[in-house]
Subunit: 243 residues, 2 copies
């Protein structure tokens, strides 16, 4: 005896293709929702602290709560949202202490990548890295903050890949993603754009020279500078915790 279920089977077929032009191979709905929410969070459209309730997200996607739940669990594991049992989900909000801890790990991880990449990059990879740096130069000259942000990301990702350790590269990229909601104002301060570029320049120089240890030190300093910049710019917008 089939109960009169709500209109089903036609609605979501129509909606599924309307949701978002998720270009990646996302065969499942929960995956699509996850990617879309992750983008909303890392882009800043959903700032830290925002409550995310399953129902409304589901409605936004024309989906039921089930795939939304799964997406939120995934995002929680990735550190982008925090879950408390029976209290719902919110975009991850970190204390200043926690954030500086994460920046330290990020800096050390990138330093490691720089060291390994210096020793392991192929000739083609070195050429490509230099080309990326050139693109950055143009963005700096034109004061294109957003474009520099993109090139900067590509530059760092290229170094991750240069380690020839895919696990490490994924690790570093995940960490970068997780911190991205807290780096919005990264290149706002003063002349941070050209400063960052100059740091890249000497980093690249040492990497091409083959001095991995020095490259590692430069990268660590580079990342710590960026982290400190953020923590100084807006230390009060995050959660509690003194000092």
């Amino acid at each position: 005896m089939p109960m009169p279920l709500a209109t089903n089977g036609t609605k979501d077929d129509a909606v599924k293709r309307t949701v978002q032009p998720v270009p990646t191979s996302a065969p499942t709905l929960s995956e699509a929702i996850r990617l879309s929410l992750a983008d909303d969070i890392t882009s800043g459209r959903l700032p830290p602290g925002t409550e995310v309730d399953e129902q409304s997200v589901g409605e936004r996607f024309g989906a039921s709560r089930t795939p939304v739940r799964e997406a939120l669990r995934q995002l929680a594991s990735a550190g982008l949202v925090s879950l408390e049992p029976r209290r719902g989900a919110r975009v991850a909000m970190l204390t200043v202490d926690r954030l500086s801890e994460m920046f330290e790990v990020m800096a050390e991880t990138e330093a490691l990548c720089a060291r390994l990449a210096t020793n392991r990059m192929t000739g083609a990879e070195r050429v490509a890295l230099r080309a990326l740096h050139q693109k950055s130069r143009e963005a700096v000259a034109g004061r294109h903050v957003h474009r520099y942000d993109e090139h900067n990301k590509d530059f760092h990702l290229a170094i991750y890949a240069g380690t020839h350790n895919a696990f490490l590269a994924e690790h570093a990229a995940a960490l970068r993603l997780r911190l991205s909601p807290f780096r919005r104002a990264q290149f706002q301060g003063a002349d941070r754009l050209s400063q960052s570029f100059e740091e890249h320049t000497i980093l690249l120089q040492q990497m091409l020279r083959g001095d991995g240890e020095e490259a590692s030190r430069i990268m660590r300093a580079h990342m710590l500078t960026a982290g400190a910049e953020y923590l100084n710019v807006s230390p009060r917008e995050q959660g509690s915790s003194a000092s």
Copy 2:
């Protein structure tokens, strides 16, 4: 018109408390299942490659498939199981290449921890670390492999904590957990027990002397030795991939 639902509301109430003596605060059923499965995997009761289907796990816990699904998603994010859409879950099975990548990251992460801990541990922490090392000595003397395994873990966890960077400590512990299914035979080979202990001895010595760089190098070598040991002992039990 309430359809004749299967016996419900009484069954799981009774079962919930019978599941497992999960001592931690696991208010939700899916959390309990997750912890139990994680233990099954890291302990080796569910070896890599084992298929895990929602139905049977649910029956084992007296739960429906819903919380099992969530537990599996969590475990997948932690890297303990692998999921393929509509094809189910299995305990993560890594290629030799992947595994050696992970061992490298583990070695570098531990090396970082050793360096930071050398500079940051309090007096009390140094005393405690030395005490842990003493306990290990006794386990080595008595050839108590399992007990040494425990002390070894505590020793390393103490170093993580000594960094005074909780995020890094969690990171390192998560990595250790994730690799644990692949380190079962860790202290089986020859005289690996006392070799490990000796390496700890000189590591501890340098840490107490305050030479963080040297401690870092020793730790890296220590971990790479352990990794290579495993890869040599049973390189063929893992997935494909040559070299």
